[in-house]
């Protein structure tokens, strides 16, 4: 479970997150949408401590993320993250990308880690790319490797930060399919995305943000049919009607 209680964040004078209260249950798929600069990515990155919070309480699995005595590395084992620009390690093969953390963080044997890696590569549909370097793959394939890399740590939570925004339109589907399958298996997912189709189909809940605030939290059907906030209506009309 992830729980934000009155969380605020400042970059200097800039108030990025304002009074965030949000609870995400185990197994839930929460899709965060909103205009650029609304604080979606920052919100997501607070969950695994890539960003610090300025005040308020943020707990993941009942552990306070921004506490000095919290072992952040231990907490992060349980939270996989997929980035907009994949962030694969270019000097390592696909297999090495996936096994690096299991071997060095979870202390798995190379053999065990390889087996797990192959299992997830199979799952994302590119087992034949195990010995390729990231630069030899398409964007969609790279992002699927990044998802497999996250899953290989067997996390309970997966964070997705605009996972399809840097992809060619043709590659978007293959990445979303992997994410859909993951959601069906009951993974707890927090997804920042502009893919409204995905949000509608897979999301258990939509969180709409603007200017650092959560304006609306709603079931997808309700949100897309009947947005309550004026800002949400404008946002939806702009992205859906063209």
């Amino acid at each position: 479970m992830i729980a934000f209680e009155q969380v605020n964040k400042f970059y200097g004078d800039f108030h990025v997150l304002k009074d965030i209260n949000l609870t995400i249950q185990d197994g839930e798929v929460v899709v965060v949408i909103g205009p650029s600069g609304s604080g979606k990515s920052t919100l997501l990155r607070c969950i695994n401590g890539l960003e610090t919070t300025s005040d308020g309480v943020l707990k993941v699995k009942n552990i306070q993320v921004n506490e000095k005595k919290t072992d952040i590395n231990k907490l992060r084992r349980n939270i996989g993250m997929v980035f907009q620009h994949f962030n694969l390690y270019p000097h390592k093969t696909v297999l090495e990308n996936i096994t690096l953390a299991p071997i060095n963080v979870l202390k798995q044997s190379a053999e065990e880690a390889k087996k797990t890696a192959m299992y997830y590569l199979e799952k994302v549909g590119i087992p034949d790319k195990a010995s390729s370097f990231p630069s030899q793959l398409s964007g969609g394939q790279q992002q699927r490797v990044a998802i497999a890399r996250g899953l290989a740590m067997k996390p309970e939570i997966m964070l997705f930060d605009e996972p399809t925004s840097a992809l060619d339109p043709e590659m978007v589907g293959e990445v979303l399919d992997v994410m859909k399958a993951l959601a069906k298996e009951g993974m707890t997912m927090v997804v920042v995305t502009h893919e409204m189709g995905f949000a509608k189909e897979v999301g258990d809940r939509i969180v709409f943000m603007d200017q650092g605030r959560i304006l609306e939290e709603e079931m997808p059907v309700e949100f897309f049919e009947n947005p309550k906030e004026e800002r949400a209506k404008v946002f939806l009309s702009r992205i859906l009607n063209h």
Binding site: N87, L88, Y89, P90
Partner: protein, 217 residues
């Protein structure tokens, strides 16, 4: 035509100087690399006093002439009760001076690795040190090899500073030979050739390494 008899008659002196130049360069090269690496890490750490020290070190030593540092260790430190031979003083000065440049090269190499690499490593549960060692530094090395190679070539050439403080290096011996024989032109041509014997393989080696690393991924 060059007077090769000078080279033959004084070959022992040339050779002695050449050996000293090699030894001083090698010691300064290894020392400056390690000092430079440590200073580079200090310059990017979030621990402020260390960062300040690293910045002060680089700005200070990079911006004063090597001769001044060499003279400091040769004629300055005896006032503090520390006496060094010309060779030792010159080697220390070379190491310190070059390390400031190497620190800058390594630092910019580390900084040129995209931020997402550190984030990917850290978010998978690796520690800062693990991420640095397994993800950031292997990528930074590739970027850093050409500038560091240039610093090493400069170091070999700068070692001629030893001649000014009786460091018995190649340049020092050449001064002696030309004073003895009144031959100036030929002697320094030979000296130049001796330096080339060191620097050309060094730059070829760096070029080879650069090419090999470029092909690695």
């Amino acid at each position: 035509m060059l007077d090769f008899s000078i080279l033959v008659n004084y070959f022992d002196m040339f050779l002695d100087g050449f050996k000293v130049t090699i030894i001083a360069s090698l010691i300064a090269l290894v020392a400056s690399f390690f000092i430079g690496a440590i200073i580079a890490v200090m310059r990017i750490t979030s621990i402020l006093p260390l960062r300040w020290f690293g910045t002060a070190y680089v700005e200070f030593f990079r911006n004063i002439p090597l001769v001044v540092i060499a003279f400091f260790f040769y004629v300055g430190t005896p006032a503090l009760g520390l006496e060094f031979s010309g060779l030792t003083a010159g080697t220390i000065a070379l190491a310190i001076y070059t390390s400031a440049f190497i620190a800058e090269a390594i630092r910019s190499g580390i900084l040129s690795v995209p931020k997402g690499q550190m984030e990917a490593g850290r978010s998978s549960g690796l520690s800062y040190i693990q991420t640095m060692r397994m993800i950031i530094l292997p990528q930074a090395i590739k970027i850093v090899i050409p500038p560091i190679g240039n610093q090493f070539i400069n170091l070999v050439k700068n070692s001629s500073i030893l001649a000014l403080i009786a460091g018995t290096d190649l340049m020092y011996q050449a001064d002696l030979i030309s004073a003895k024989t009144y031959v100036v032109f030929d002697v320094y041509i030979f000296v130049a050739l001796f330096y080339l014997v060191l620097t050309i393989p060094l730059s070829t080696g760096v070029g080879y390494l650069e090419k090999r690393l470029a092909k690695s991924y």
